[in-house]
Every structure is written in C-alpha cells, then in structure tokens.
C-alpha cells in the first residue's frame, strides 16, 4: 500500500447531493421526449470516475485483476464490461479514464492502490468534476456534427472509440459505447453551457430530456 492520503468523498449520505445539471433543469427546463423526438438526452449523474496515470503495462495488470477489464490497447480506445456499466477509456499515452457505478469508486481506488504498491502511478477521483450525458436516437450523430470538430461519421468513429475534442468551443469527451448511443463527458463547470447548447442545437430534432 502506498502512503498517499486518500479519502472517501461519499462518507456521509445525509448530505444531499445534486447532479451538475440540477441547476440547469430548474433554469432552462427539460423538454419531455415524445414520439416526434429524433434524439433524446439523458444524464447519468454521479457516476464514479477515476483518472489513472502511469505505465500501461503496470496499470493494465492491476485493472485486469481488480476490475476484470484490461486497458484499451489503442489510442482513442474505449472498452467496457458486458453490461456496459464499467468502462476504461484511453485519454493519452499514460492516462486513462475509468467510469464505474456511483459509490464504487473509493473501493476501486483503494484496491488499485493496494495492488499497485510502490509502482510509479497516480489515481485521481474526478467524480465530482465531470458528468456523463447520453445521446440516443437517429439524429444524435447529426446533432454532434453541428457541435464537435471531430469527424463522427461511422467510418471514422466506430463503436469502441472515445476522443477528447472541442465541443461548441468548450472541451468534452465524446465516446461511442454502442451503435445507437453516444456519450459525452463534460466538466461540471461546462455542464450548464453544454446542456443549453444541446437543447438549442437539438430543437430542430425535437430533442427530449429523459430524467
């Protein structure tokens, strides 16, 4: 076990927590999804998110053992477990984003630290700093084409890919976990802006928000 100081950010469940979009729902509303909606938006709030940094070989062994999931082998790679609840995404040659169901992150961090011992690595709990938005529907890709500078055509952006890129002049992670679903990981401080951008850009597709 390393001597890094760690703490569980969710020790006291009596403290009410709000998703980064709580303010946006109050201020901008949330149009309901209907039969005419060609794209829907859903926030997967308060997931556990860890950033792992270090050498690929050492980290790969550790996450395989602790999480049962290996690091993606290629740049821009995204791997997930069978149920799609836990995922690991390549961010840079020595950096990966791990997303797990909310509440699992501290135990995962602790077990990784035990497993990694004195290896040269860093784990940061970024759960409070960003949130995950899902886009679904036939117009999801069209909406992204208006929004990100990265080419999201299926021939260039197959399932199992994730990139950090410019999102409507802000920064976001865009990922494609399955054929019909796109995911955005946005910073908490950008969340309201990104939400309002998506409502505005999605208006022509009768965008609906699933809550």
């Amino acid at each position: 076990m390393s001597n890094a100081a760690t703490f569980d950010t969710r020790t006291d469940s009596a403290i009410p927590v709000e998703s980064p979009l709580a303010y946006s729902y109050r201020r901008s509303g949330a149009p309901a999804a209907g039969p005419e909606s060609r794209v829907t938006l859903r926030e997967r709030a308060l997931l556990g998110q860890l950033v792992l940094r270090g050498g690929a070989i050492v980290l790969d062994e550790a996450v395989r053992e602790v999480l049962g999931l290996g690091l993606p082998g290629e740049p821009q790679g995204l791997v997930q477990d069978e149920r799609g609840e836990r995922s690991i995404q390549w961010l840079s040659p020595d950096e990966w984003l791990v997303i797990v169901p909310g509440g699992e992150e501290f135990e995962l961090e602790t077990r990784l630290r035990e497993r990694l011992g004195d290896a040269h690595y860093a784990i940061s709990d970024v759960s409070g700093g960003q949130t995950l938005l899902e886009l679904e529907g036939e117009a999801a890709r069209e909406l992204l084409m208006k929004t990100v500078i990265y080419d999201v055509h299926p021939s260039h952006f197959p399932v199992g890919r994730g990139v950090t890129t410019v999102f409507a002049k802000a920064t976001a992670i865009v990922r494609r976990p399955s054929e019909e679903r796109w995911e955005l990981v946005v910073r908490r401080s950008f969340a309201d802006y990104c939400y309002r951008w998506l409502l505005d850009a999605g208006e022509e597709y009768a965008i609906g928000v699933v809550r």
Partner: protein, 113 residues
C-alpha cells in the same frame, strides 16, 4: 479544415485542438551556475527565426495534451513532419531534405530582402 498529425494520438486532428509553443530542441544549460551570461541569455531570450525549415514545439491542447515536435516550412507554412518528444527530426534545413521549390523560393526571397 486544416489537420495536424499528432504522433501520440496516431491520427490527424483539427488544427483548433493544437497550440504552437515556440522553437523546439532548446536545451537548458547543464550547470546554470557555471555558464556564461551570454550562454544563459541565449538560452533564455534568443530564438531562431529562419526563412525555411523550422523545428517547433506544439501541444495537442484539446486532446491528449502531449507536447510534440513539428518541422514546418516558414515560407510555405507546410508541415513537413511531426515527431515525438526526445526524437530527432528526419528533415532538416540542409537542402537535401528540403522540397526543391521551397529552396528556390527562399533564394529568390533572400535576394529581394
């Protein structure tokens, strides 16, 4: 659309994701206490401003956030290659590695200047 190849992401990415960071391959004097004022001043303040092939440091600021090197032609703006930190350029200013029309152009310009 203008694409730059990031050697760490392994693909071409939109220019908007990158920032230039000045001249590449600048080495800090090994022993600053012992080096002359001139050498230290060169290291801190003086940069090359060539007409032609130039090696620059860029960062993939929105993306992998890694620094890397770019060999760029300052007359044509053409990016001749990109390579990782710690590597050496394969294209340098001597005429061998330089595109022929660029050599001719820089000579002409040189006369006029």
């Amino acid at each position: 659309m203008f694409y730059i190849y990031c050697p760490y992401c392994g693909e071409h990415r939109e220019e908007e994701e990158f920032h230039p960071k000045g001249q590449a391959h600048i080495e800090r004097p090994k022993d600053p206490e012992a080096c002359s004022d001139e050498a230290w001043g060169d290291y801190l303040f003086f940069r090359d401003n060539p007409r032609g092939v130039h090696h620059e440091l860029w960062v993939h600021a929105v993306g992998c956030r890694k620094f890397f090197n770019v060999t760029r032609h300052t007359v044509t703006y053409e990016i001749l290659e990109t390579y990782k930190m710690g590597e050496q350029p394969s294209i340098t200013a001597d005429a061998q590695g330089q595109p022929r029309e660029a050599v001719a152009a820089s000579r002409q310009e040189g006369v006029r200047a």
